[in-house]
């Protein structure tokens, strides 16, 4: 074990994947110069300029023009014909430029060609929200892609998960979209130095509890954990679950937990309407209604665009206070019963 940042863990996973398999190539804007800090040397959050390039050469480190549609499309074509590309799309807002390739090609290809193709390609993008970058750079678009059958959606929330899930994504023969929250880039954690993978569709129980289940996504995970800490002092026992992958989703872990606690709060940094939280709430309402002792609560970003001013932006995303309030409101009935 060693202590690594979230960003360093991504870099380490990329290096290991490149070393393990010659078919792995990295494609993206400014990957040669390691501008985003994930194509540098082992475990460093930001290595000396361009050292992946020195390690693996320009044949496998493909610096691109600013052409998202062909970056995504060519990675798909390359994956169909023998490579295993990792595409760095930098900001997640830029995925929209290549929507046709994601939705019409990556997601439909294997299906509509009757299983002839497999598409072992990983698309990484960073969600730059919370950094006062305004509406054009603050998107959290994973729920849009959850709505597209054929894509796998990964939302790592810790350095350990960032490394293990990325390695699993490279091993997957299907197109995988990884959404990395910049809010988490600097978080440090214990990460094995050796290679490991984390299977998709297996949620992580961040903290066990008995009164209420909080399913938290991406940067909401540490916020939910902090809220649980605080609520424990108030005598409320919170179970925090991080699904880690949204497609496939570990429905059973969520249903089992709600079965024990009888209450559900979902904390999701995406916009409220048709969010991951909406989907998780629906699953629980459909399949575990009898277990519920209180209405489900969603803590999400409201359906507004992201404003620039720090004073405006900071109130929008799910944070510990809002999550704690939601928990208090769903356990209110229990507290009443006791008092």
């Amino acid at each position: 074990m060693t202590v690594m940042s979230y960003l360093g863990a991504i870099g380490a996973a990329q290096r290991e994947a490149m070393e393990a398999d010659e078919r792995v190539v990295i494609i993206g804007e400014d990957v040669e110069a390691n501008v985003y800090g994930t194509t540098g040397g082992a475990g460093k959050s930001r290595a000396d300029k361009g050292d992946f390039l020195q390690m693996f050469g320009a044949n496998r480190i493909r610096n691109t023009p600013i052409s998202e549609e062909v970056i995504v499309g060519s990675a798909i074509g390359a994956a169909m014909t023998g490579l295993r590309p990792i595409v760095d799309l930098s900001y997640s807002s830029f995925l929209y430029m290549a929507m046709d390739q994601f939705v019409n090609q990556a997601a439909k290809n294997r299906y509509m060609f009757g299983g002839q193709a497999s598409l072992p390609v990983v698309f990484r993008s960073a969600m730059f929200y919370g950094l006062n970058t305004g509406a054009h750079h603050s998107d959290r678009p994973y729920p849009m892609f959850m709505n597209v059958p054929g894509l796998k959606i990964v939302v790592p929330a810790s350095p350990y998960d960032a490394k293990g899930l990325l390695r699993a994504a490279v091993d997957s023969d299907d197109p995988v979209l990884i959404f990395e929250a910049c809010m988490l880039w600097g978080t440090k954690g214990e990460v094995p130095e050796e290679e490991y993978t984390i299977p998709f569709g297996k949620a992580r129980t961040v903290r066990e509890g008995t009164d209420v289940t909080v399913v938290a996504i991406s940067s909401a995970v540490p916020e939910a954990a902090a809220a649980a800490e605080q609520l424990a002092e108030e005598g409320i026992s919170v179970e925090v679950i991080d699904p880690r992958t949204l497609v496939p989703l570990d429905r059973q872990a969520i249903l089992d937990s709600v079965g024990r606690t009888g209450r559900l709060v979902v904390a999701d940094p995406a916009h409220r309407t048709c969010s991951a939280a909406s989907e998780i709430s629906s699953i629980v309402a459909e399949e575990a209604f009898d277990a519920l002792r209180a209405p489900i609560k969603r803590v999400t970003t409201p359906d507004t665009q992201i404003p620039f001013s720090p004073s405006l932006e900071k109130q929008l995303y799910p944070a510990r206070a809002g999550i704690a309030d939601a928990v208090r409101s769903v356990v209110g009935e229990r507290q009443l019963a006791r008092s």
Partner: protein, 337 residues
């Protein structure tokens, strides 16, 4: 290099296969035997076959909605293609692609696309693969004059240029995008656009002459295989049928004189005349070839007729390589009730 005797006959055979296959498909659409619609390549066979046969067997193609000719030109057998058009289990895509989404990986056909322009980046990626793996394969993207105005073509030409990829961008200029004449929506000459990307741009005016297309594309393929990078080839041709079968537009966007002029330039008639005049084949041999191809199409239809429709569970197969995240046949319960 002049093609061998066998190659010349094979060109005619593949053009005939496309013609007879598409004629049959057109009939089957009209009789309701093929669901949905199909876009035929009738009239464009020289362009399709000249390009496809300039490639080697292992080379890649990706194409568009005018889709049957590309895999046929690449040598794909007709039975599974026809079965796919009808949605049978034996279809080349197990009945899940249909006319718009044929793919036959066995002959390097990476798939046709219903989204205009969308397959161009895919072909570019196949060329990237060849380059990284050093396997010597060339990739060819088929697209229409309409698609030539999609932005992704220019993203693809730029990246193929800077990465020096082994790819041919093949514009099938049949002069119309549905009802829209190319010259009314296209500024300048398509082939000239190559210059902006530092690559050769070739315009084949005699697009009804299979050898003219073959020569131009062969040069582009050789160039790609030598490691000298991409080429844009624009072939001027004409579609004899409507944009899609069964489509009846109230407006006549192509006048009768123009149509008559192009019908005179039927690529199959022209090439047969050439083969006989050059002493490459006799009239009898040409008749025999026509009969042979007709029998192949009959056989493809018989194969299709005798094939079952897919099991309902197939609707849930192959969304992913592993079954974990997908829905199952259980989801049909209620939906069909």
């Amino acid at each position: 290099m002049t093609p061998s005797h066998d190659t010349l006959l094979e060109m005619q055979r593949r053009m005939l296969r496309i013609r007879r296959f598409d004629e049959r498909a057109s009939k089957m659409v009209k009789r309701g035997h093929i669901p949905g619609t199909v876009h035929t390549s009738i009239g464009q066979e020289a362009q399709v076959v000249g390009a496809a046969m300039a490639l080697a067997d292992g080379d890649y193609t990706a194409g568009n909605h005018r889709s049957h000719g590309h895999p046929i030109g690449k040598g794909s057998p007709l039975g599974p293609l026809m079965a796919e058009l009808v949605g049978k289990a034996t279809g080349v895509c197990q009945g899940k692609g249909g006319s718009l989404h044929l793919a036959d990986f066995a002959v390097g056909s990476l798939g046709e696309s219903g989204i205009v322009g969308s397959s161009i980046p895919i072909a570019t990626g196949a060329a990237l693969s060849s380059k990284v793996l050093g396997n010597g394969k060339v990739s060819l993207a088929f697209f229409g004059d309409g698609a030539a105005n999609q932005g992704c073509l220019y993203e693809a030409m730029n990246i193929a240029g800077v990465w020096n990829l082994p790819i041919v961008f093949l514009c099938e200029n049949n002069q119309y995008a549905l009802s829209t004449p190319a010259h009314t929506v296209t500024s300048g000459v398509i082939a000239d656009r190559a210059a902006g990307f530092g690559m050769p741009g070739v315009r084949v005016e005699e697009g009804q002459d299979v050898l003219a297309v073959f020569d131009a594309v062969t040069e582009a393929v050789d160039r790609a295989r030598r490691g000298d990078g991409p080429t844009l080839v624009e072939v001027v041709t004409y579609r004899f049928n409507e944009h899609s079968e069964g489509l009846r537009l109230g407006v006549d966007y192509r006048n009768a004189d123009e149509k008559a002029l192009w019908l005179e330039k039927d690529p199959i008639v022209l090439f047969r005349r050439h083969l006989v005049a050059e002493g490459i084949a006799t009239e009898e041999e040409m008749d025999a070839l026509e009969a042979e191809v007709l029998a192949e199409v009959d056989e493809a239809v018989r194969f299709t007729d005798e094939s079952p429709f897919p099991d309902p569970s197939v609707a849930f197969a192959d969304l992913y390589t592993d079954p974990t995240p997908g829905p199952s046949v259980d989801n049909l319960i209620g939906a069909t009730a």
